[in-house]
Assembly symmetry: C2
Homo-oligomer: 460 residues x 2
């Protein structure tokens, strides 16, 4: 009996000690980041010295080279590139859009959707019909749609607390609207920008054509102009409102590009991996600061913190800069393929692709309900840092393919505050100046902390 009690006490003390060690380590991680953080300066370089870096562009290649050097400068154990062929879409000259209200021509801000085809050189002029869903196209049918421009104008639902959910429910208009409208003979598509704000900026983003379908030109229109157009469509019966737009984008041949990877080799399990990453490519309209400069700079920072604190991981810890998330996901797909081919065991993959805002927590995919419950003690550790919201479900486009290719992997989405993301998302406003230094740093520290806990304890 006495022996049992002693054992119990030892067990309790060990648990308490471990918890105290973890707590101290998190404090060290946050202190290092908040005092000596480098990700904000790195983001400045990426935004201002490189800038927009759509897949296949010269800037994307510059970003690859600079990213590799950055990881090498931090003395990671192994830094390397993974070759990946990516689409090379080019916007060309700035688009022109106009509402034609009888003799009145009203210029409106538009931007071609990524992967869209161009209009004919002279542009397209056609009657325009407003719809609010893909389903409505089926109801209207070819007789109402053929020869017209389809105007998707379903706004974000402001009642969602997380803007990501509003994006999720409105996004089909941009992703699938052009392909769906083409089936009914539409000659072009204009999509209300995917944002809850009323502003004058078109928010671009990729659309997906059906592989064997007709490709019609498609553009985003600013939310203010979308409202204006909708009002005019309601007011005018005859003559009908027409719309004119001209865009000059083109698909060029696929281009060789790279994922950039840096790792701290695991001392116990070098072939077991915990990865953290974001995407290096960005839309062409701005600097890709929040999307996803903060993700890549925060990810490499998380690994830098652990390295500089002298942490010797049990498992291999990897920072991954994925290429081509915005218009193809080729980098994420390639990474997963190579993980399978090289028989790498992935314990967990963290993705940061929702901006560099104040971290609120993480979302987890792949945990059993017991494993999720067991995260409660980690939650407690994150509470002093305001980053303790652990949700069931989470991940991202780049780590998604690992689910199939690296069975058993836990996919984790870094979950920052979402309120401001769609103010800047895919617009000319996604610039360095809209990133707050401390918000970015807190995110990097929270990811470093989670990596540390996973490396130490795994998911029990």
């Amino acid at each position: 009996m006495k022996l049992k009690l002693t054992l119990l006490l030892i067990l309790i003390s060990t648990t308490t000690l471990l918890k105290a060690q973890d707590s101290l380590m998190l404090r060290k991680i946050y202190d290092e980041e908040l005092v000596n953080g480098q990700c904000y300066g790195n983001l400045h370089y990426l935004c201002k010295n490189i800038g927009p870096r759509l897949s296949g562009s010269k800037n994307a290649q510059k970003a690859v080279e600079w990213g590799k050097k950055l990881m090498e400068s931090y003395g990671f154990d192994h830094v390397f590139l993974q070759e990946v062929m990516v689409p090379h879409w080019v916007r060309g000259a700035k688009e022109v859009g106009m509402i034609i209200d009888g003799k009145n021509k009203i210029p409106v801000p538009i931007a071609a959707l990524g992967m869209s085809v161009a209009t004919p050189k002279e542009g397209i002029t056609a009657n325009i019909i407003e719809v609010h869903s893909l389903k409505e196209l089926d109801t209207l049918g070819e007789s109402m749609i053929k020869g017209k421009i389809v105007f998707f104008n379903r706004p974000f639902d402001p009642r969602f607390i997380e803007t990501l959910r509003a994006y999720g429910t409105a996004g089909d208009q941009r992703n699938m609207g052009p392909a769906a409208a083409a089936k009914y003979g539409a000659v072009g598509v204009i999509v209300r920008s995917l944002t809850e704000t009323l502003d004058n900026y078109p928010h671009t983003g990729a659309t997906r054509y059906a592989p064997d379908g007709i490709k019609i030109p498609a553009a985003a229109i600013s939310t203010k102009a979308a409202n204006q157009l909708s009002t005019l469509l309601k007011q005018r019966k005859l003559p009908l409102i027409k719309f004119y737009f001209k865009q000059n984008c083109e698909m060029r041949p696929d281009t060789l590009s790279y994922n950039v990877i840096g790792e701290l080799t695991g001392s116990e399990n070098p072939n077991k991996f915990i990865t953290v990453g974001g995407h290096l490519d960005s839309w062409d309209l701005a600097e890709g600061a929040h999307d996803d400069g903060t993700g890549v700079m925060g990810s490499v920072e998380a690994v830098r913190i652990l390295k500089v604190l002298g942490y010797k991981p049990k498992n291999t810890i990897r920072a991954v800069f994925f290429m081509n998330e915005e218009n193809g996901d080729k980098g994420g797909i390639k990474y997963a393929e190579l993980a399978a081919k090289n028989k790498e065991e992935h314990i967990a993959a963290i993705e940061s692709d929702l901006g560099g805002f104040t971290p609120r927590g993480f979302g987890f995919t792949g945990l059993s309900s017991n494993q999720f419950k067991n995260l409660a003690s980690w939650k407690t550790l994150f509470e002093p840092y305001g980053s303790s919201r652990f949700l069931v479900g989470g991940g991202g486009s780049d780590i998604g393919p690992l689910k199939e290719k690296a069975p058993g992997v836990i996919l984790i989405g870094f979950d920052p505050d979402s309120q401001r993301y769609f103010d800047v998302h895919h617009t000319p406003n996604d610039v360095f100046e809209n990133v707050n230094k401390r918000e970015l740093e807190l995110g990097a520290a929270s990811m470093a902390s989670l990596i540390y806990l996973i490396d130490q304890h795994g998911f029990n």
Copy 2:
């Protein structure tokens, strides 16, 4: 026994029903605000049509009149003003500051601290000595300080997760530094701006002279210029670095002003009050958007939401626009005095004066530990809205005086995310454009929700 069981079941069902009702009501509150919110538009008016509104100024009076009309337009049961005499400090012509490095004169951005006296018309030129604490003044003593300008240069400690704590620990330099330096014969004081950012803006704010002490002119200097000055002071031995500054501020006679109050009268306890408020006055350098336009517009919005949802409160619910928080707290003091005089029983007072950022939760002062534990069920209600961080301790300058004057009151600080606050606090950047619509709305809805819960259930 059977009867007891039935009673128990009735009790359980009632509790479950009540919880479901509360949950539904919170959803209604958030929906109303996110779909029909008016506080962002109101804030726009306050910032752009009225603007800076320091106590005693014409704009402060305009804000009082407009605020009263706004409350009346919402059909509150009772809208009234409380007279309060406030200090009237005026900045005068823009300040001039220069580092004098031998023959080299380097202009630096400074702004007089609120309530500071002016320099002589020709300005002050003197040797400057850098210190990091009030205690250091005692160590240096009169022999080292007399005739010099004292330069307080202790930065924010970035390791605090909440920037408010960094402000709290650095704030004595601005609040008490000039009075302390004057005792040792300093001729002026320059204070490093109270912010964690490195920027070119002096962050103003009030200083407090000893009532019977010598008043010496005091100004804030931008953090970048503070670093520059500090570097020069370290590099140059002889000739010594001097500093020149000139400011033109003055104290005018106290002025009659007002707190603005609007209420929904309680149906059961008209003389029991739940208040929510912020301060209407703002610093003169910008629009007082986050400090504290969001506080007053969010507070009146919280009451508007309850009104428009047809909610009939048991207790009287008050929105209060306090006057003169920035340089005197006269409005808060007067409100508490009148509460005592009129024998008003205050159940709770909520203050919003930390900016209009994403709400994280609330801090509570005055609850027993059991009462605080009982908030757990409310926390659960706030979780879907991301505003469930309930902390022990919280309040604000304006509701603080109620602690003594309205015994039993629970003081509650609205607790938004703090990372960006000191980017704009007391600077020319505190403008409408730096407020996010949804962040502001979520705060208003969270305050309305808390008021509803307190009104329904009190603190058990």
